[in-house]
Subunit: 512 residues, 2 copies
């Protein structure tokens, strides 16, 4: 079925020539920041109802658990502290802070090529999470993840076009001291990639040292503050509707240190959030609005990402579950709420329940990734490499995720409609006295690389070619690419003097 | 991470009890005919431009290749026959026939439980295609597909909730006589499932015998005409813009025989259709509009499915390619055009380029399936089992596709927003003096089966459980289910007298 086409001639030589032409960055078929939003799982009326319900929740239920500093900041801004210890937020306060909140921000990366423009509904994909296992393909084993695994993930992510940022996807379980963990996590990520990095801190007391480390990497505090290339992934709430006291203190410290904040509300639908999709979105939006008030009461316009990350749950077992259609709807619905507010927003997508990079992992990762993308989420977190409902991270899967996300991004880019793409002139030329096919038309040749995304590891051979190639295994190809990437020196490493100074000051566990 | 939740108590016993409650058909979390359409890859203005361009193409370019009967029918209706042999369609003719075309039809199935309501943007998934290989999991081999393979596919599809119809997915390569092939294909499909069946005919001369066979299965011509449970998948065009003369004659015979018709335009974007997504849609829409004029000129209001099936192509090689983001956009864009016309429409989704049910197959199948679904395609063809860019069909993959499509359908169902689902009352009760979690709320228990779709073969265990279960292999589970299904007697088999009569009349190759 395929051979006759490739033998048609005429077009083939021209296609071979066209293939050799390199594409400039803006001509690539997919890029970071393509604009989503054509998928709207909610009607406008439903969006408005969700917003109104979130306002009611904040006004009537409010949040408990704020630290003393937070109570002072929030009551100072206009929140009411009840006798039950809950802080309640009048709708006018929320609307005021929405007006002050940072919009259309750019999240800087160490290398400006990787800056993330979060304006409008520009879509980016990246890693995230706190997996405690590395999935070893050889032997199909789950073992505790290490600092080296994290660093390797950063180095791999650095080389993948469709992984736009690196939020720390796994925990270095070989470090037991919390301060050492936080500092080494930063070091392992930043020395592995110059893309935007996200991380969390175990203790607010660790933030000053972390900032010192970042100042050293940046070349001074002013340079860091000018381009803060690390953001704080902050679980400021323990849903339902309760501030996480220590994380709030961490957030305050990060804001003072000039670090962008991801306001992360990670309720589990059916356990720590309502089991209905709409209800889980309402609660997550309410919690993030509380966080938004908090941030802007401290520093109006401080860069913050509206991090509604409601997760699914398998209600039969009470276990987390991220590979479901419900999860895709949760994430896509949240993306629509971000767009409603015009705020930079992030949500979770692309995590699999499957333990290995198998067919289930493929369908699970695509479902939430593509729907979050076409719904226009600025940041799709946990988009690659994540297995076992966030418990395991797999380097091979990260690499395959690059291919998978590429196709999702192609969908985000959408359908261009103009005189050229409608192709009436081509149709006339081809059908009436022409060759009867489009293989060699100038339009086909001109756009064969700009319009079409070719997979890097995905297989498109015919069954015969595939047999002749000894039926290449997809995951084995990913392992080969991993080894290839990890055999080279990381281009993100710090210069020798900086590295020496960092190691003199901090107990860095990665070998120099 | 999962254990603490399941140990929280309170909710668990109640959840176990709720789990035992059987769901009625209309309470199932996903069902055939859920309503899509929230994803609109095209703006309204773009839809209008595509329609206008298709009208221009029909008026100025037209189609060549109509059989003598078609020329008579179409010129009789108002088409112009040019000196170049092309039939051109004035816009007014197309608009007139659009007004006459059948809308909101129901495609009957042998068992009325499986009738397909194609009104509005109700979404259904099923098989289709003309694969020439069966993919054997054991040994990972591609071998020529047989009549028994086809029958087995029908029997498997019959048992899968999320496979709503069976269009013949592979060709019985062990039959060399075209008439025998067509009759045995019908027999193999209809004796394997009582779901709606689709098939094509190799020669218009074979239609009378096929109708006789269908009359025998139905219990007479009147019964057949009252509920025609088989539709003709008809490639009435050889794109670009050329009628397939013999297929047109087949279509005429099928229409006279009361058989619903799938007007199938299967251009390959970049070869037999423009390489741009918009252009491929324009041409496919134009071709299907020509088919629509044809059908309604013969029999106004005859049930016809607007079958825009533009396929992708890998322009580097000229080989077909269905697993791409471009394919998902082609299919979703077509679904939006169907909705624009208010016509029952079908498109292709879910076919993989990958040779095996691996991670690539998972992401490829999900991408186009879920986007075609949320775009509201009435019929998503080739949605399960299809590999190697349509060259191979795999029984295990069909079974896994049921799980995959289930999740896609959950996305189609979307987000319900009402007072109950917004859950403010639950939030109040849970957060203020309540248990602080939603695991055991009446609302969670009430909806734990109606809202949440649990996979049948997909794995949601924790890494520890998974290890204790000896790391079950997804594809092996599918093989086990296949063997289980094929070990039982097909519930779709004809009664003994009918079967005997059919075998007396026709050379049926399947064993009795």
């Amino acid at each position: 079925m395929t051979a006759p086409l490739s033998r048609r001639g005429g077009g083939r030589a021209a296609r071979v020539a066209a293939r050799a032409t390199a594409l400039s960055e803006d001509q690539r078929p997919v890029r970071p920041g393509l604009i989503g939003g054509r998928y709207r799982p909610l009607t406008e009326a439903e969006v408005t109802r969700i917003h109104a319900s979130a306002l009611v929740a904040l006004d009537e239920i409010g949040l408990s658990g704020a630290p003393a500093s937070g109570v002072e900041i929030l009551t100072g801004a206009g929140a009411r502290l009840g006798e039950d210890g809950r802080l309640r937020f009048p709708p006018a306060l929320v609307e005021d802070m929405l007006a002050k909140a940072a919009r259309d921000i750019t999240l800087p990366a160490r290398d400006p090529r990787f800056d993330l423009d979060l304006s409008g509904q520009r879509v980016h994909y990246g890693t995230a999470g706190a997996a405690v296992h590395l999935v070893e393909i050889d032997g199909q084993t789950y073992r505790e993840s290490t600092l080296q695994d994290l660093h390797d993930a950063a180095r791999i992510a650095h080389q993948l076009d469709n992984i736009h940022f690196l939020q720390r996807p796994m925990v270095a379980r070989d470090l037991t001291d919390n301060l050492e963990l936080d500092l080494n996590t930063l070091y392992a990520c930043c020395s592995g990639t110059t893309k935007q990095v996200g991380t969390s801190f175990s203790d607010p007391a660790n933030v000053p040292d972390a900032l010192d480390l970042l100042h050293m990497i940046a070349g001074g505090e002013a340079a860091w503050r000018a381009r803060p290339f690390v953001s704080n992934s902050n679980c400021f709430v323990v849903p339902p509707m309760k501030f996480a006291s220590e994380s709030c203190e961490t957030m305050e410290a990060c804001i003072r240190g000039g670090m962008p904040v991801l306001l992360l509300s990670a309720g589990m639908s059916g356990a720590t959030a309502p089991s209905t999709i709409a209800g889980a979105i309402v609660q997550s939006v309410a919690e993030c609005l509380a966080g938004l008030v908090y941030v802007n009461a401290i520093a109006p316009g401080h860069p913050a990402i509206f991090g509604t990350w409601p997760f699914g749950l398998d209600l039969r077992t009470g276990a987390m579950c991220l590979g479901s259609g419900e999860q895709a709807l949760l994430s896509a619905g949240c993306a629509q709420m971000h767009a409603h507010y015009g705020l930079p927003g992030g949500t979770a997508g692309g995590a699999a329940d499957s333990k290995l990079p198998d067919m289930q992992a493929g369908w699970e990762q695509m479902c939430s990734n593509v729907l979050a993308g076409v719904a226009g989420a600025n940041m799709v977190y946990e988009a690659a490499g994540m297995h076992a409902s966030l418990l395991g991270f797999c380097h091979e899967s990260l690499i395959l995720g690059d291919d998978l996300i590429g196709q999702a991004l192609r969908c985000v880019r959408g359908i261009e409609v103009d005189d050229m793409t409608l192709a009436l002139d081509q149709m006339r030329a081809v059908c009436m006295g022409g060759p009867g096919h489009y293989l060699g038309t100038p339009e086909t040749l001109d756009r064969m690389h700009r319009d079409h995304l070719y997979p890097r590891l995905g297989d498109r051979t015919s069954p015969r070619q595939w047999e002749e190639m000894d039926k290449p295994d997809l995951v084995a190809k990913a392992t080969a690419r991993k080894q290839e990437i990890l055999a080279t020196r990381s281009p993100a490493r710090f210069d020798a003097a900086t590295d020496k100074a960092i190691r003199a000051r901090f107990p860095i566990h990665l070998p120099a």
